[in-house]
C-alpha cells in the first residue's frame, strides 16, 4: 500500500545517521571513566594490600598505609549523614505533603536550589565561620561533618521530595476520604512507597560526599595525623585531602602511592553507586502499582 518513494528513503537515511551520532556521543561518555579507572589500576593497583589499607602512613607520608584517612572519611561521611538525612527527609515531607502553594514555599524552594549551587569552597568558609568559630567546635570532625551536611542537604531534600511526589496523589485522597489525617496517610501509604527512592538518593549522596575536599580542608581534616580520632571533637585525616597532599605537597612520594589512594577513593564511590543501582533495580522489580 505504501510504496517506497525517494523522500521515504532519504528520511530513513537521515534517521539512521542521527541514531549513529547519538550512539557515538553516548560511547564517548564511557571513555573518560574507562581511562581513569584503567590508569589508576595500572599505576596504583600494585600498592593495594591489606597493609596499605590498614596501617598508618610513615616516613613523612612517603611510605606506610592510609588507615587514618580511610577511617576518617568513614567518620566524616557518617556524621554528616546523621545530620543531613533526618533534617532533609523531614523538610522534604513538609514541602511535599504539607506546604501550601504560596510565596513562602516558593522562596524556600528557590533557596534550596540556590543552596545546591553554592560552590564547595564557599561552604567551607561558611563552615569555618559558623561551626569552627561561632559554635566553638574548633577544627573537628563535628565541624567538618556539619559543613558536609549543609552541602548535601539540598540534594537529600530534592531526591526525597521527588520520591514522595512519585507516589500517586489518588492514594492520598483515598486515604483522606477514610478519615485518615495527613500524618496517618504519610506514615501508612506515602512513606512506605517512597522510602526506596529516598534511600537511593541518600546512597548516591554518600558517594558524592566521600570525595569532597574543600569543605573539610579548613574545618576538620588534618594534613598529617597518624593516629585515629577518639571523638567527634578531634581532627582526622581524610582520603580526599590525603590524595591532594601526597600528590602535590609532599616531596619524594613513590609514584604508585597517590594512584593507590585515588584508586581506593574511587573504589569506595563506585561501590556505593553500585549498591544504589542494584537497590533500585531490585525495587523496580517489585513495583506495587
Amino acid at each position: 500500500m505504501f510504496s517506497t518513494t525517494q523522500l521515504n528513503e532519504r528520511n530513513q537515511r537521515t534517521q539512521g545517521l542521527f541514531r549513529l551520532l547519538f550512539l557515538m556521543m553516548t560511547w564517548l561518555l564511557i571513555l573518560p571513566v574507562l581511562i581513569i579507572v584503567s590508569t589508576l589500576i595500572y599505576k596504583g593497583g600494585s600498592i593495594i594490600s591489606a597493609d596499605f589499607l590498614f596501617t598508618v602512613p610513615t616516613d613523612g607520608m612517603t611510605a606506610g598505609g592510609i588507615f587514618p584517612a580511610l577511617f576518617g572519611t568513614v567518620w566524616l561521611v557518617g556524621v554528616a549523614l546523621l545530620a543531613s538525612v533526618p533534617i532533609g527527609i523531614a523538610a522534604a515531607i513538609y514541602l511535599s505533603e504539607y506546604a501550601p502553594d504560596n510565596w513562602l514555599t516558593r522562596v524556600i524552594n528557590l533557596a534550596i536550589i540556590n543552596l545546591a549551587g553554592v560552590p564547595s569552597i564557599v561552604h567551607a568558609l561558611f563552615g569555618v565561620g559558623a561551626f569552627v568559630i561561632f559554635f566553638k567546635f574548633g577544627t573537628s570532625i563535628l565541624a567538618a561533618s556539619l559543613t558536609l551536611a549543609i552541602m548535601t542537604l539540598p540534594v537529600v531534600i530534592v531526591a526525597s521530595r521527588e520520591s514522595l511526589q512519585a507516589v500517586p496523589h489518588a492514594f492520598r485522597e483515598a486515604c483522606w476520604n477514610m478519615g485518615a489525617t495527613r500524618w496517618q496517610t504519610i506514615r501508612r501509604v506515602v512513606l512506605p512507597n517512597a522510602v526506596s527512592g529516598i534511600l537511593t538518593g541518600v546512597i548516591l549522596e554518600v558517594s558524592r560526599t566521600t570525595g569532597e575536599t574543600a569543605p573539610i580542608m579548613f574545618t576538620g581534616a588534618a594534613f598529617y595525623l597518624p593516629f585515629l580520632p577518639e571523638s567527634v571533637f578531634d581532627q582526622t585525616m581524610a582520603l580526599s585531602l590525603h590524595l591532594f597532599v601526597v600528590s602535590t605537597q609532599v616531596p619524594n612520594v613513590p609514584e604508585a602511592l597517590p594512584y593507590g589512594v585515588a584508586l581506593v577513593l574511587i573504589a569506595m564511590v563506585l561501590i556505593m553507586n553500585s549498591i544504589s543501582i542494584a537497590f533500585r533495580m531490585y525495587l523496580r522489580g517489585k513495583k506495587k502499582w
Binding site: 502553594d101 483522606w176 478519615g179 496517618q184 502499582w289
Partner: protein
C-alpha cells in the same frame, strides 16, 4: 420514606473553583435510610457536591464552599474535627484506587485508623466487607496479594469494601459503575438495596436507569443548579416540573 428524619440538610450551597462556579445555591435534604439519586450531565456539579459534604475542599486548591451543610447534628463547614466527620462518610469515586498494600490491609486500614488492632476483629470486618462488596468469592483465598494490582472492576469493589469498613452512616457513590462490568454492577446494586436498611446512600450516577432502579428520590442537576428533586417513580412516570428534566430522562440530551 417521608417519615424518616433528615440526615443531611443542604442550604444555599455554592461552590467555586477560583472564579469559576461549579454549583450555585443548591438546597436539598437527604433522609435517613434512603437512596438519594443525583443525575445530570457532565459539569452539573454532582462530584463537587459530594466533595463539599465530606470536606474534601480542604485538600483541593482553589475550591471555595459557601452555604450551610448539616450532617446529623454537625455543622459541616464549622466542624472542628473533619477527620471524625469523614470517618462517618464512606466515599467511592469513579476511578478505583486500590492502595499499594495487600487486599487485607486495604480493607483493614480504616478500622486500624480507628484503633482496632485485634486480629480476630479485623478478620471478621475484612471478610464481611469484601463479601458485601461482592468481591470475597474472587479474592478470599489471596488476601495477601496487592490490592493495587487487581483488575479495574475488582479494584472498584475493593474501594466499596474499604468504604464499608469505616462502618459509615452515609455512603456516597460517584458513578461507581464506570469501571465495573454490567454483571458486577447488578450485584453491587443488589448490595446497595440491602445496605439501605443500615445507612443512608447518596448515589451520583450517569446512568439514568440506575437511578430509576435504586433511588427512592432523585435530584436532577444541570449546569451547577439543582433543577428539581422528586420521588423517583413519579419523576420517571413523567410527573416533572421542568421540561429539561423530562428531556434528560428520556435521553434527548446529556
Amino acid at each position: 420514606m417521608s417519615s424518616q428524619p433528615v440526615k443531611i440538610e443542604v442550604k444555599d450551597l455554592s461552590i467555586h473553583y477560583g472564579n469559576t462556579p461549579a454549583l450555585e445555591e443548591v438546597s436539598l435534604e437527604v433522609r435517613e435510610h434512603e437512596i438519594f439519586g443525583i443525575i445530570g450531565p457532565a459539569n452539573a456539579g454532582k462530584t463537587s457536591f459530594l466533595k463539599a459534604i465530606n470536606r474534601m475542599d480542604v485538600f483541593t486548591t482553589g475550591m471555595n464552599v459557601a452555604g450551610d451543610i448539616r450532617f446529623g447534628d454537625i455543622d459541616v463547614h464549622k466542624a472542628d474535627n473533619i477527620y471524625a466527620l469523614r470517618k462517618r462518610i464512606g466515599v467511592v469515586f469513579p476511578l478505583p484506587v486500590g492502595l499499594p498494600m495487600t487486599i487485607y490491609d486495604n480493607v483493614a486500614l480504616a478500622p486500624r485508623l480507628s484503633g482496632i488492632t485485634n486480629k480476630g476483629d479485623l478478620d471478621v470486618i475484612v471478610e464481611r466487607c469484601l463479601s458485601r462488596a461482592a468481591l470475597w468469592d474472587e479474592v478470599g483465598d489471596r488476601l495477601n496479594s496487592l490490592g493495587s494490582l487487581l483488575s479495574g472492576g475488582q479494584q472498584q469493589r475493593l474501594t466499596i469494601a474499604r468504604a464499608l469498613s469505616q462502618n459509615p452512616e452515609v455512603l456516597m457513590l460517584d458513578e461507581f459503575s464506570i469501571a465495573v462490568d454490567p454483571v458486577t454492577t447488578m450485584r453491587i446494586e443488589d448490595v446497595l438495596k440491602e445496605l439501605k436498611s443500615e445507612m443512608t446512600i447518596i448515589l451520583v450516577t450517569n446512568l439514568v436507569q440506575q437511578a430509576r432502579r435504586l433511588a427512592d428520590r432523585t435530584a436532577f442537576f444541570l449546569e451547577g443548579r439543582c433543577v428539581e428533586i422528586g420521588d423517583t417513580e413519579a419523576m420517571f412516570n413523567g410527573e416533572v416540573q421542568h421540561q429539561k428534566t423530562l428531556d434528560y430522562i428520556e435521553g434527548k440530551f446529556g
